[in-house]
Symmetry: C2
Subunit: 344 residues, 2 copies
């Protein structure tokens, strides 16, 4: 049995010399190298950005979405949105652990597992697409995936249903980075109240504490009501973050002109960079966790308004991100109930 | 005389409601509002990304480049690259200061000045393009520009020629952020040895000190020789940063496997995100200062290799960036000489 590269370059078919993420095509055969793990895949959770593209190109018809996923995966040996490069994640059961990893990883064959690296770099072989859950961007499948030695994963907890577990793990980086940055007394703005946003709100409120203030911004009246009902924010503002000047005015009013120390952008909509920057005070920090973020718009936009703000590219991973996120569901029964309702 | 919005929204013609940077078209008439400054423009320094596009679309012919700049500016009321959104900066002489700003800004009419906000949000009226300096991405023009109340600028120093001043101011954010992040003993990698990279190298070496190590990476043999001759780095590696795996191997060898605490990417070439991330050690920091950076590639790529790295979106502005950058030229006669040679 041959040993592969820890980053998976041995699976890259074209163009040669790049990492799996940047590759157009990967070798997706299920036979493992000595430092790989093979997973029997049950469920894909497509990233919101990629699923929006799938729906757009198929008019939302489930059979056409299924065909499109099969087509992309056959063509490329992985699932990666051709338009945006986004992927998603997967869950399944550990089928085989390569001999070089056995005893070194906290997994054994038969364990239920979620991979925490993007589908956009994961060799994936699909036999079939069985069911599309359009409301949750999830897809029930039968197939095999390969996890490289550098790949990250989490064992699925016994007390949370698989689809819920996966839904929250997909965005676990957002609350984990929020946990690292928010300090007592901070004013925190969370833009967008999808699953990432809701988890960030809980974590921000915990960290900012009684002397801080947590402000949620979302365009949907229904989602704003939910935040209020779940008591996830001190202030809830129904607003469209693509309108930076209007959002700034509302934030000024809500904070008495102080603005935010920390801003998390979790909106999968283009053009929300400037609202994120404008509501942040000088020497504050903006975490861009949305794949719709445009690097140049953020960089030039921040310079353009002469603000001194630390702007972070939110990676989906940081240490303990799975533990931090599962802990939120333990701590917040209302939020857990909401996730159970939406994603089960 | 009417008062405008500090961010310049009163100059936006289409689409209404956005900030000037995001606008397709600005009102570029030279008559000022009460909180604006009008500048008699001499020189545009086009951003490297935008100038590369201009050269590509005109086969590098000066008259066609001039026509293209006139066309874009007439069409949009500002100079902004239609393909990439990038701009540049300008210098000139203060022609008029609105009554609301008089006495509140450190400028008087007649002062030589460089605007430090991007051309992509600056109302610009051009009478003519007089000369193209293809080697330095600069353009001698006759025209008028408007600076908003939130706009940043610097008076041009008397001891540095205008074109040199502008060339370094255009990238002043890079060495200034480097100054803020690099600590004594750090291993620093600077990717790309254009003007931003060279300034970062000097600043990194000063901050990392005798216990640190500064490593320069550039694909050009000539530029690598220059770095060596100017003693700007402890280690110079001639390598192509679009090849992440190869670059990682060279960095491992150069640092005895330790990798870098701080990485600055200044390369205006697509596909260098992964090399930047891979050469950074866990808990290190990568500053992306290149407009060619792809947000999703950085975010998903970092997650994909399971690294815990703080990734910063490099804004062109932070406090004191002009002072920090002029100071580099004072401290480093060889570097000053190089800039005088190339940009004068």
């Amino acid at each position: 049995m041959k040993r592969g590269c820890a980053y998976g370059t041995h699976r890259v078919l074209e163009p040669l010399g790049v990492l799996p993420q940047a590759a157009y095509k990967l070798d997706n055969q299920p036979a493992i190298f000595s430092n790989e793990i093979c997973i029997d895949v049950n469920l894909l959770t497509i990233s919101a950005t990629a699923f929006a593209q799938l729906k757009k190109r198929t008019h939302g018809e489930p059979t056409r979405i299924a065909e499109e996923i099969m087509h992309i995966t056959r063509e490329r040996g992985k699932f990666q949105c051709p338009q945006t490069g986004a992927g998603g994640m997967l869950t399944g059961v550990v089928e085989k652990i390569g001999p070089d990893l056995a005893g070194k990883v906290e997994l054994k064959e038969g364990d239920p597992v979620a991979t925490l690296v993007s589908l956009s770099l994961t060799p994936l072989y699909l036999e079939e697409v069985r069911e599309i859950f359009r409301e949750t961007d999830q897809v029930r499948v039968k197939g095999k995936a390969i996890l490289f030695a550098s790949g990250i994963y989490t064992r699925l907890p016994a007390d949370i249903p698989e689809r819920v577990s996966v839904a929250v793990m997909d965005v676990a980086g957002a609350p984990a980075w929020t946990a690292k940055y928010v300090k007592a007394g901070d004013y925190v703005v969370v833009i967008g109240a999808g699953k990432a946003g809701l988890l960030c709100l809980h974590e921000a409120k915990k960290r900012a504490g009684v002397t801080g203030k947590v402000i949620a911004i979302d365009p949907s009246a229904r989602q704003c009501e939910r935040i209020t009902a779940m008591e996830l924010a001190d202030i809830v503002i129904q607003a469209d973050a693509t309108q930076p000047v209007a959002v700034l005015e509302q934030l000024r009013a809500a904070t008495g002109g102080r603005l935010a120390d920390f801003v998390v952008n979790t909106v999968n909509v283009a053009g929300t960079e400037m609202a994120s920057i404008l509501v942040c005070r000088d020497h504050g920090c903006v975490l861009f966790f949305s794949m719709s973020t445009d690097f140049a718009k953020a960089a030039l936009g921040c310079e353009g308004v002469g603000k001194v703000v630390t702007m972070l590219i939110g990676s989906g991973y940081t240490e303990g991100h799975a533990e931090i996120t599962y802990q939120i569901l333990q701590e917040n029964p209302k939020l857990k109930e909401y996730f159970l309702e939406v994603y089960q």
